[in-house]
């Protein structure tokens, strides 16, 4: 069994080094003003060791005192309470990021086993389990990373990307059954497959070069290190991806949550741009 898998059909040759400019802006418009709005936002980049943050700023409007705390994975987030009437809630961040190594993450302090437990969003139905059995070749045991890449290929062959075909709480099983979904669903399916095979897997919310909104991908834990896999684009994550939040599933790393006590229609305009800049 090889410990350094071959990624012949994957984009990996290019050097991982690069400088990126990140701009993330979310504008939520309510049709009626709200007040006493409690919120919780992911506006901090993680302390990964494959990149460094050169410049960083963030904002929340209406301007409001923001407190910070860390979650169970040690990720920092902002929370607060906006009392005044407001019909627009806007927040975002901008940063200059210098990547100097391939995408990856050292182990966290939490036990790895929590990324093996299936949950409502990542659980597979019988069709997903049938896939799993179909592409498992019993004669040749694979390195778990190679295996996960095989699972990712399987998703690409069986699923089509279709905006609006699922929603934020669609379980992996439903997406498999209908054969379509978006990046969140592709990620949940790959997580479900990996966990069923005994490979710890988790969800990542973040930014991809060229995407207009945030993107979701997967990390699998193999031989003491987290590797990134993007099932939407069927590739190993090496460069051009900047994580913002990690967790067991999409709900676990939602970028914003808010609570207020009136019924309103809300429209969110999200713009995320990650651009590689030449120095």
């Amino acid at each position: 069994m090889s410990s350094s898998p071959q990624f012949t059909d994957l984009e990996y040759e290019r050097s991982a080094d690069g400088v990126y400019k990140l701009n993330y802006d979310v504008r939520a418009e309510m049709d009626t003003a709200i007040r006493n709005h409690s919120w919780c936002l992911r506006l901090s980049l993680p302390d990964d060791d494959f990149f460094e943050v050169d410049e960083f700023s963030r904002y929340i409007e209406p301007e409001c005192a923001a407190a910070t705390a860390v979650d169970y994975l040690g990720q920092e987030y902002s929370y607060g309470l906006t009392r005044e009437d407001h019909s627009v809630f806007r927040y975002g961040l901008s940063a200059t990021i210098r990547q100097h190594a391939s995408y990856g993450r050292r182990p966290d302090t939490v036990p790895i086993q929590i990324f093996l437990r299936s949950d409502r969003l990542t659980e597979l139905d019988h069709k997903g389990v049938a896939w799993l059995q179909a592409f498992q070749s019993p004669e040749k045991p694979k390195n778990p990373l190679e295996w996960s890449i095989g699972a990712m290929h399987e998703i690409t062959q069986n699923m089509i990307y279709l905006t609006g075909s699922t929603n934020y709480s669609t379980p992996a099983g439903d997406a498999v059954s209908q054969g379509s979904g978006v990046c969140q669903d592709f990620a949940h399916i790959l997580i479900g497959l990996c966990r069923a095979h005994g490979v710890p897997a988790r969800y990542v919310n973040g930014f991809l070069v060229g995407d207009g909104v945030t993107h979701a991908w997967v990390e699998v834990f193999v031989e003491g290190r987290w590797y990134g896999l993007d099932p939407t684009h069927n590739r190993l994550v090496v460069h051009d991806y900047i994580p913002l939040a990690r967790g067991r599933n999409a709900e676990d790393c939602s970028l914003n949550r808010g609570v207020w006590s009136s019924v309103v229609q809300q429209h969110q305009h999200i713009s995320a741009s990650l651009v590689e800049v030449l120095e």
């Binding site: 006493n36 409690s38 919780c40 005192a65 407190a67 705390a69 860390v70 979650d71 169970y72 994975l73 040690g74 929370y79 607060g80 309470l81 302090t109 939490v110 036990p111 086993q113 929590i114 093996l116 437990r117 067991r248 709900e251 939602s254 949550r257 609570v259 006590s261």
Partner: protein, 367 residues
């Protein structure tokens, strides 16, 4: 624990009376007669004061009177002391287990419990990793179910360390005896139980990092709403709903109707973990307090009971509690578990297969 006297020995009926004999009538204590008319008056008293519990059935809410057996069951002093000692021991071990399982996890490294019993359990909440509750107390109050077998032996039926319910009913019953048949209590060496709310209040003060204490109820349609209001009143603390509390910056506050704010340091919450904070758990919860987990994590508020306790009263873990007592305290368990077989282990599997009347138990979430 030795076998104790049979239940029937402590009470019997004789010509219009129920006769209670503490210590089976063997000690120096006198017997006491409780007339049938007293029992009728007790029932009338409880009905009049509407001691109720809520019930949702067929989509309608009904407030029902609490069913209550009016003839006291006598537990002798020696037996009571043993139960108390055994329960203290058990809760102490379970509290140490919770501290360990969310931090060092030595109990798994030492293979006292197979790790899948913990990691596969939905009640084990990674959300509380790195969070140390004030004074390291997780199980501030516990509702441990005891059952007495026909031969008099007491067994532990289950542990309840999440949001145990029902403490108010025996207090009210005791109150009723004091009113209806005051001699029963004053003539007999009955131990006082009515200081429960004061004890609970003291526990909350002990773990309170600053501010007032409150009782957080999900609302009047909760089955135990009567109890929430009763305990708040007896403790002399505000009874609040989620919308009466707010997190602002580093602290939790109670907003009263006059618009004043007071910092809250301890919350006796009567809603389960998944509804406590919509920012961390169930996002659609409107009975919780947004961002309360953030200030809890910072140690600026105590949540009673602690968040994540479900792992300790899980049916799969129950099997291991005697081993946990031995592991954490170096003592033999004073109170026994009800005989339980876990087919996960070869020896137990054999027993279950050879004894078809034996019902297997699996590691599932409590219902």
């Amino acid at each position: 624990m030795q076998k104790t006297q049979q239940r029937g020995h402590s009470r019997r009926e004789r010509g219009g009376y129920v006769v209670l004999e503490p210590d089976g009538g063997a000690g120096k204590n006198r017997e006491f007669k409780l007339g049938y008319s007293d029992l009728d008056r007790l029932k009338a008293y409880l009905n009049r004061y509407a001691i109720t519990f809520g019930l949702f059935q067929d989509n309608t809410f009904e407030d029902r009177l609490f069913p209550f057996g009016t003839v006291p069951r006598v537990i002798g002093p020696w037996e009571f002391d043993t139960l108390e000692k055994g329960l203290r021991q058990r809760v102490h071990a379970l509290n140490l287990f919770l501290l360990d399982i969310y931090h060092e996890r030595k109990v798994l490294k030492d293979k006292i419990i197979p790790e899948e019993f913990v990691f596969s359990c939905p009640a084990y909440l990674p959300e509380v990793y790195g969070l140390r509750p004030p004074a390291d107390v997780y199980a501030h109050l516990s509702g441990i179910d005891l059952v007495q077998a026909a031969d008099g032996t007491w067994y532990i039926l289950e542990d309840n360390l999440r949001v145990p319910s029902g403490a108010s009913y025996p207090l009210i019953a005791r109150e009723a005896y004091h009113t209806v048949c005051p001699n029963l209590i004053s003539d007999m060496p009955v131990r006082e139980s009515r200081d429960y709310p004061q004890m609970l209040g003291r526990v909350m003060e002990d773990v309170n990092p600053g501010g007032i204490s409150v009782v957080l109820s999900p609302g009047r349609y909760n089955a135990a709403f009567f109890e929430h209001s009763y305990l708040a009143e007896k403790m002399g603390v505000p009874l609040v709903f989620g919308s009466d509390l707010e997190v602002d910056g580093e602290y939790l506050y109670f907003k009263d109707v006059g618009g004043h704010r007071a910092r809250v340091g301890a919350v006796y919450r009567r809603l389960s973990d998944e509804y406590l904070d919509p920012m961390v758990f169930e996002p659609d919860s409107i009975i919780g307090v947004p961002n309360i987990m953030s200030v809890y994590r910072k140690g600026n508020v105590s949540i009673v009971n602690a968040v994540g306790n479900g792992i300790a009263d899980d049916k799969g873990i129950y099997y291991f509690v005697p081993a946990l007592i031995k592991y954490y305290l170096g003592e033999e368990a004073i109170l026994r578990n009800a005989p339980t077989y876990l087919p996960f282990f070869e020896r137990d599997r054999k027993h279950v297969l050879q004894n078809p009347t034996c019902v297997p138990m699996f590691c599932t979430e409590k219902t």
